[in-house]
Structure formats: C-alpha cells, structure tokens
C-alpha cells in the first residue's frame, strides 16, 4: 500500500507549517534533556581521561580514590565482561563491540588524549572531580601517530597489532594503520585521461571537526531490584543505545530500558555511546542512580569528531566540456578505532556527475585521535571540498561557466555512479537550473575583493526500520507514539502525516517519543531518515486504524466492507446514501478501543541533491573571509513541513560555513588538543553569517506516499567548496585546506 503515492489536490496537514509540538516546553525551559535528569539519591559520575595520545596502561590503582569520603565506586575496563570482536551497522556508521568496549573504558592501551580510563561516582561533582586526581595510572608512553599520510606508511608505529588492511585484493599480512582500503573503478580511467584535453590535479587536506551539539553527552542509570536497568540518555537512537549497553554488559535487552530524553543536538555524534555503560556499571556497584555528564572539554577530547582527511584528485575533460575521467585517493582518519566515513565520502565525491571512467581509492586510517563519529552527511563535505573545487578549476581552464560545465556533466536517473549503483531520480539538472536562474547568481558583486562561488552535492540518505502506534481516543483525538528520537522536529512531521491520512486536524494528534519498553524496534534517527521512514510507519499505522474502523462500520451497518468509504473525516457506505458517521462519533461508539500499527523497513529510498551559491569578501590585509550572501537550494521531494526543511537547510549551511572558515582541531606534536573549548574552537555566531536563503525544490520520490526525501544532511556538503570557489574568485588563489582561516589565506597569498 505504501508504494502508492497519496494523490490529493490539497493535503490536510502535509505541506503546512504547524507549530512544533515541543516548542512551548522548550521556550519556557521545561523540556528535560539528558543533562537535566535528577533522581532521588543521585550520584555524580565522572570519567578519568588519558593525558597521553598513545600509551600502554601498565597499572591502575584506584584505592586512594575509593578511600576518599563521598566516593561510592570506581570502575575500570576489568569491570566489563569481554566483548565480541564483531562489527555491526549502526546508522551510517559501524560499531565493533570490542572497540566500543575499549573506547568506553580503555583496557590495555590508551589511543588518544581524552580516552576514558576509569569512571567513578561520588555524592557531589566536586568530590568526583577531586577523586579523579587520586586515581594512579602508570603509562608506558608510545609514539603518537597524528598525520594521516604518515600513519599509512609501513614504517610508522601501529595502533593495533592485530589489524591488517582489509583491501580490494584481500587481507594484508602485516599489522597496519590502514584498516581498510576500498576501490571503485568504472570504465577505463587510463583511456579516459588520454582522451582528455585538459587535466587538473590537486591535493586537499582537512582537519577533524566536531559536531558541537550544545548539549554534551549525558546518561543517568538506575537499577531496579528486579534487575531492570533503566537509562535516561541523550541519544539519537534509544534502541541503538540499548543494543550497545546490552552488548557491553552482556545483559539481556529485555531488562534494559532506555528512555530517550530531549536531545540538545546530535548531528550524528550521539549514535555511539560513551557514558551510558560506565553510568550503568557505577549504578550497579553503588545501588544508587548515577548520572554521568561530560564537560565541553570532554566532549571535544573524547567524542565525535568528523574525519580529518588528505585527498588527491585528478580530473580530465575535453575542451568541449565533457569529463573523460577522474581519479582520486581519499585518506580518511578513523581516529583510534576503524570506521571512518570513507565509503560515503567516496560515494558522494562525484555522485552528482555522469563520469564515464574513474577510479577512487579510499583508505580508513588509524591515528591517535578520538574515534570519529558520523557528522551530518559523514565523509561528504571533505570529498566535496576537493571534488567541487577541481570541477570549478577545470571549468575555468576550459573557459566554461561553472553552471554550464556542471550541467554538461550532470548525473540523471539511471546514471551509473563510480561505486556501481544506479541513480534514482536525483534532479541535479533542476538544481543547476535554479542556480542559473536565481537572482543571486545573476546580480553583480558590488565591491573589491569579493567573489562568488557555487558548488553542488548529493547525499544518499537512509531508510531502515521504524515503528509507530496510534491509539484512537473516545473523543476522536489520537495519540501517536514512535520509536524515533525526535532531534529537530520529527514528532511534529510524523504526526502531520498521520493526521493527513486520518483526515483529521493536526491539532487532534498528540505525538510522543517513547522508551524501548513501549514500542517495537526502531532504527536510530540518522541518515536523514526520520521524517521519511518513521513518517511512512505513521502512514501505515493510520491506514491500519482506518481499515479497522471500516470493518467496525461494515459490521455496525451490516454492509459489505467494500462499500465503506472514508472521506473528509466521515464514513459512508455506497449501499445506503443515508448512513454516515464521523471519525469522532465512531471513536466514541467504540470507547476508543482502536489502535493501528505501522512497522516498516524502508529499503527503497532516494537521495537528495542540493547546491550553494555564496558571495564572500576577503580582506587582503587580515585574511579574514566574510560571507556576504548565501543561497541554498535543495530537492526535498516533498517538504512535509517547509519551515522545518528551511531550518535544516539553513542550519546545515551554517555548519558548512563553520567547517569552511573557523572550525578544526588543533594538535601539538604530542597529540594534545590545543583548542578544547568553545572560545578556541570557534563555532559560527549570528554575527558571522548572513541569513541563508533556502530554496526548496520538490521533485517527488515516487516510492514514498508523499514523495518525500530525507533533507537533513545534504545542506552541509556544498558550502565549503562554494566558499573556496568564491575565495578563489576574490583572491585569484585556490585554497586547498580547511579551515580557511586568516593565517591559511595570508600564507597562500604570500603575506606571511
């Protein structure tokens, strides 16, 4: 049934802009986030972190900390059972339970500054902090491996003795920091380059950036006398968090209840768990509720980030503007454990183009930095920074307009990507058309040292499993629950779809996110999937309600089921014109004992293309780049809530501006992070960015009832290369590294 699109002249809720259901609680300070949870007898948990980037743990002595008055328990890795060396898909990333265990509490080695070594619970945060200093850890310091290219050399110290490169031609036979080598080949790249009239080649580098959700990681654990472990967690996926804790504690899922709190931002970074399991261990040991909340420094040192990268890329084209071949090498930092987003980075790099011949080699590289986590279109902003600058440079060399050159090479439905998949409808031409016609692209710049750049991007999105249940109340209102954590409004957008199918006012639907005991399995809120996939589950649940109500009506009127029709909130039968009953009256008659279930596994979803037009002004004396104007274009398929789509686009673009100009980890040669606070790790403020104009295109994805596509991730992909292209126009100098700080720019133009 879900295969069929819902065709109506006018949707009842879908496409409108109702107030978000959680808005009033959030503007008044009443919404409860992970950091706000308080329970009677609560103890405060803190984590001891490694001061070294790479060291063997010789011994840990916790006795002095345990003896401090007010300290209730200390835990280390030995308090956890051994974990399976097994890797599973988790959102857009993967989780290996052995590595997850070591990342929660280091066992034999610490692999980055900030790596968790021990955790303790005390009656106050101050006592907990003081007690951390009493834990004595003896380290044998090892050489830190911080540079991705250096890490790949076979002469470099390895992080993990047991890791061999998993490569396209099988497994390597010596220990390596290259955990994986992937290769996509299409056509004949050598021939493609020999057919080219113009070839450009460059190397680009980027440093790790943090998702920088304003709410840090927080979990509160409490054990019941019946053995139930309850965890309040600021997580993207309650079921994903439960699975991780269950694996690490080797404890049955049925006895672990994860209650997702309001989440103060995540952007991919709250898929892995860090504090949930230590909190559970401490709560079990003390018999009291334990809350572990990270400080900002801990968030920066111990969680996320997005990969730093080194990317070389070469592209050839004919002088008429047809790309003949591409070749790229993508080296992505995984951090301390395997699992960088080099796969999606390689997927996205030239996905917007029809490339006849190409080869992409991707490397997942271990370095002594925190294990990376997904960050909004994981891997794509880095590869787009390289790819969309090379495309721009090639267009310049050929003497073509950037839009025209991209249009001449744009992918369309059926295009085979370099990774071998076939594109569904992707609307790249339409996006380029909007750019070409937009006033922003056509109005002249109005000052010296200004430049305008464009870039486009594509993200594949995700589908996966979602569950929704709808209970009809006797007054005709309905309650909807879903297993999806609401990160930025999905409670509202999912309810809108249910209201639309039920043909009742949106105000009559109350939607909530619930704990893992209350609904069946739902995948994590990631991959731009929630409004689309959980929305589909809501559509299914609403249809289930209507089917059941139609059965009740056919019984009640003794008419055939086929004759019962439902429209605009009223049931009728084609057998007798006189009979009719409203949704609310029927609900009253049935005392509200009607529910509907929607359990979907979305295996057919569509990616979304987007683009950015940006104007910058560069101060040649200070190297400062000011973003003057920015327009974002994106294909939403169908904007379920256009206001939310605009919000995703504007927010994603501003994160992209931060990545382009300000953000990045700075390390010393020993692997210490020099900017682990929000003063030195600079996020964009309201003063740094203009109001981003969001242009929504609606090219429906036919397999979704509303034509909806995911929208959350695509907006972050193209801002950095668009800004770099604009800076190039302003300065005549191409910037090949992120972030494009004043220092970087002044070095490039030879001022310093």
């Amino acid at each position: 049934m879900s295969k069929k699109m819902i065709e109506r002249d006018k949707h009842i809720s879908v496409g409108t802009r109702p107030e978000r259901m959680d808005a009033k609680d959030k503007v008044t300070g009443h919404a409860l986030y992970g950091t706000d949870i308080n329970l009677p007898g609560l103890l405060h948990g803190r984590v001891l972190r490694s001061p070294h980037a790479h060291a063997r743990i010789v011994s840990i002595d916790t006795s002095k900390a345990e003896a401090l008055p007010g300290v209730f328990a200390v835990v280390i890795a030995n308090d956890l059972p051994e974990a399976d060396d097994r890797t599973e898909k988790a959102g857009e990333s993967t989780i290996n339970y052995k590595f997850l265990r070591d990342n929660n509490l280091a066992s034999d080695k610490v692999l980055y500054v900030g790596h968790a070594v021990a955790a303790l619970a005390a009656k106050s945060p101050d006592i907990a902090q003081n007690a951390l200093e009493l834990i004595e850890v003896e380290y044998e310091i090892l050489e830190p491996v911080l540079d991705v290219r250096h890490a790949m050399s076979d002469k470099t110290q390895v992080l993990h003795e047991q890791i061999r490169t998993d490569g396209p031609d099988g497994s390597g036979d010596t220990p390596s920091n290259i955990a994986q080598h992937i290769r996509h080949v299409k056509g004949d790249p050598d021939k493609g380059f020999s057919d080219a009239d113009v070839i450009v080649e460059r190397e680009f580098t980027t440093v790790p950036v943090h998702q920088s959700y304003l709410e840090s990681h927080a979990a509160t654990a409490v054990w019941g006398m019946d053995g139930t472990l309850t965890i309040y967690s600021s997580t993207q996926g309650a079921f994903l968090a439960r699975r991780q804790v269950s694996e690490l504690l080797q404890y049955p899922m049925s006895k672990i209840k994860v209650i997702p709190t309001e989440v103060g931002g995540a952007f991919g970074g709250k898929n892995p768990t860090y504090v949930e399991t230590p909190a559970a261990l401490l709560a079990r040991k003390t018999g009291r509720p334990v809350r572990v909340v990270m400080s900002r420094e801990e968030v920066i040192l111990g969680t996320g980030p997005g990969s730093g990268t080194a990317i070389t890329v070469k592209v050839g084209a004919t002088k008429l503007g047809k790309i003949t071949a591409v070749q790229a090498e993508l080296c992505y930092e995984a951090g301390a454990y395997p699992g960088s987003p080099v796969h999606p980075g390689a997927m996205a790099m030239f996905a917007a183009y029809d490339i006849p011949n190409g080869q992409i080699d991707g490397y997942d590289v271990l370095v002594n930095k925190p294990r990376v986590a997904a960050y909004r279109a994981p891997g794509a902003p880095q590869s787009a920074f390289a790819g969309e600058q090379i495309i721009d440079e090639l267009a310049q060399k050929i003497g073509m307009d950037g839009v025209e050159f991209r249009m001449a090479n744009a992918a369309s439905e059926g295009t085979e990507r370099l990774d071998g998949s076939l594109h569904k409808s992707i609307a790249i031409q339409e996006i380029l058309g909007v750019i070409e016609d937009h006033p922003h692209y056509n109005e002249p710049l109005d000052g010296p040292n200004q430049g305008r750049g464009i870039a486009i991007g594509f993200w594949d999105n995700w589908g996966a499993r979602s569950s929704v249940e709808i209970n009809v109340n006797s007054d005709g209102t309905v309650n909807l629950i879903s297993g999806s954590v609401d990160l930025t409004g999905s409670r509202t957008t999912v309810a809108m779809q249910a209201a639309d199918v039920l043909e009742i006012p949106f105000e009559n639907v109350k939607s909530s996110m619930v704990d893992t005991d209350s609904i069946s399995y739902t995948d994590t809120s990631a991959g731009s999937r929630t409004t689309m996939a959980t929305g589909l589950a809501a559509v299914e649940a609403a249809r289930d309600v209507l089917t059941k109500l139609q059965l009740e009506v056919s019984d009640m009127w003794s008419v055939s089921l086929d004759s019962v029709v439902y429209s605009k909130g009223v049931f009728r039968t084609t057998e007798r014109k006189s009979e009719n009953i409203t949704f609310a009256d029927l609900a009253a008659k049935l005392s509200g004992q009607i529910n509907g279930h929607g359990n979907v596994n979305v295996e057919n979803w569509a990616g979304a293309g987007g683009g950015t037009i940006v104007d910058v002004e560069v101060d040649p004396e200070t190297g400062q780049v000011k973003v003057l104007r920015c327009t974002a274009i994106q294909n939403a398929g169908k904007a379920i809530h256009p206001g939310h789509v605009e919000g995703q686009m504007q927010g994603g673009v501003v994160q992209g501006i931060g990545w382009a100009l300000y953000e990045g980890y700075q390390y010393d040669e020993l692997g210490h992070v020099l900017n682990a606070n929000l003063l030195d790790y600079k996020l964009p403020t309201s003063l740094d960015v203009p109001s981003v104009e969001a242009v929504i295109i609606e090219k429906p994805f036919p397999s979704n009832p509303y034509g909806a596509r995911g929208v959350g991730e695509t907006p972050i992909i193209s801002p950095a290369p668009a800004i770099a292209n604009a800076v190039q126009q302003a300065l005549g100098q191409r910037i090949d590294q992120l972030p494009m700080t004043p220092t970087t720019l002044l070095e490039k133009i030879g001022v310093i």
């Binding site: 802009r17 107030e19 978000r20 959680d22 808005a23 009033k24 609680d25 959030k26 503007v27 008044t28 300070g29 009443h30 919404a31 409860l32 986030y33 950091t35 706000d36 308080n38 945060p125 101050d126 920088s212 959700y213 304003l214 709410e215 840090s216 309001e262 989440v263 103060g264 931002g265 995540a266 952007f267 400080s295 900002r296 990160l487 930025t488 409004g489 206001g643 939310h644 605009e646 919000g647 686009m649 504007q650 927010g651 994603g652 673009v653 501003v654 994160q655 606070n677 929000l678 003063l679 996020l683 403020t685 309201s686 003063l687 740094d688 960015v689 109001s691 981003v692």
Partner: protein
C-alpha cells in the same frame, strides 16, 4: 565541606534562600540546588550563552558567576518569563517563527532577547545579530532566530500600544 553559606535573593519574583558552597557557580546553584534546569550548561566557560540569566536586569552567563554573588540581587531565569497560562511575547515569537530546533540553546536566546528588547525596542538586524553573538546555536543557522526577535519586538510594541 561545612563552609556552606546561606544566600538570600529574589529569583523569578520569589524571595529565595539557599545554601551554597563558595566555589559553586550560579548555574550549579540554579540547576542542582534550586531545580531550575531551564538554564543550560553548554560550555561552562562563558562562550555559549546557554545559561543566560538576568541579574538586576543585566544579562549575564550564570556559569561565570558564583552563587554567593547573587546575595540581595534580583535574578530572572527563563522559567520566570511566562505567566502560568501565557507565554512571554519573546517566547511566543520563537514559537511562531520556529526559532528553535533542538531547543537546548533556546532558553539562553530567549533571555538574551528579552534583555535586548528591554533596552532597544526596535533593533535592526545588525543590532540583533551583534547582541546575540554571545549565544551559540548549532541547529538553526540563526535566520529563524533573528526573525523571532523581530517578531518579538513587534509583539512587545503592539502590547505597549494596546496599553496606551
């Protein structure tokens, strides 16, 4: 541990006495001692503005003040803005203009906006962006926040006109 002090102050219009250790920040006192968790901790070093509160009508980051410093002072947190049944116009504007996503920074923005509009009833976009530069938002890209502040300004001016 017995060096706790009693602090008397007015918080959200109520006379309050509470115990604090001298090193505890105002933010800790509000959140942990007084149960006012609307003020959020984002950085604990004055860079994100999520803990913005008003002390004697002046906008401050609660993480940068000590609890003992509010002795005798008048404190307004995000919880003190709405009546029981009615949102403050600033809150109403953020709801209507959708000036929030995850909502974690929102209490700080609401309080900072109130402080701005109390000083300047008709701020320009530049003035809004300048004033709010001490508050970080990672979700919205600020456009809908700026629109919310403009609407709040309009709602508050309308209310004043209605009174006259």
């Amino acid at each position: 541990m017995s060096n706790k002090r009693v602090v008397s102050s007015t918080i959200n219009g109520q006379q309050v006495e509470f115990l604090t250790e001298p090193q505890q920040s105002l933010l800790e006192c509000l959140r942990d001692t007084l149960g006012l968790t609307g003020s959020k901790e984002g950085c604990n070093d004055g860079n994100c503005g999520a803990c913005s509160v008003l002390i004697n009508n002046r906008l401050v980051n609660a993480c940068l003040m000590l609890g003992i410093e509010i002795e005798g002072k008048d404190v307004v947190t995000v919880e003190g803005l709405a009546d029981v049944h009615e949102l403050h116009p600033v809150q109403e504007a953020f709801v209507l203009e959708d000036g929030l996503q995850c909502g974690y920074c929102t209490p700080g923005f609401i309080v900072a906006t109130k402080a701005l509009l109390d000083k300047n009833a008709n701020p320009t976009e530049d003035e809004i962006r300048f004033w709010l530069a001490g508050n970080l938002c990672r979700c919205t890209g600020y456009d809908k926040i700026v629109r919310s502040v403009r609407l709040a300004s309009q709602l508050m001016n309308d209310a004043k006109e209605g009174l006259q």
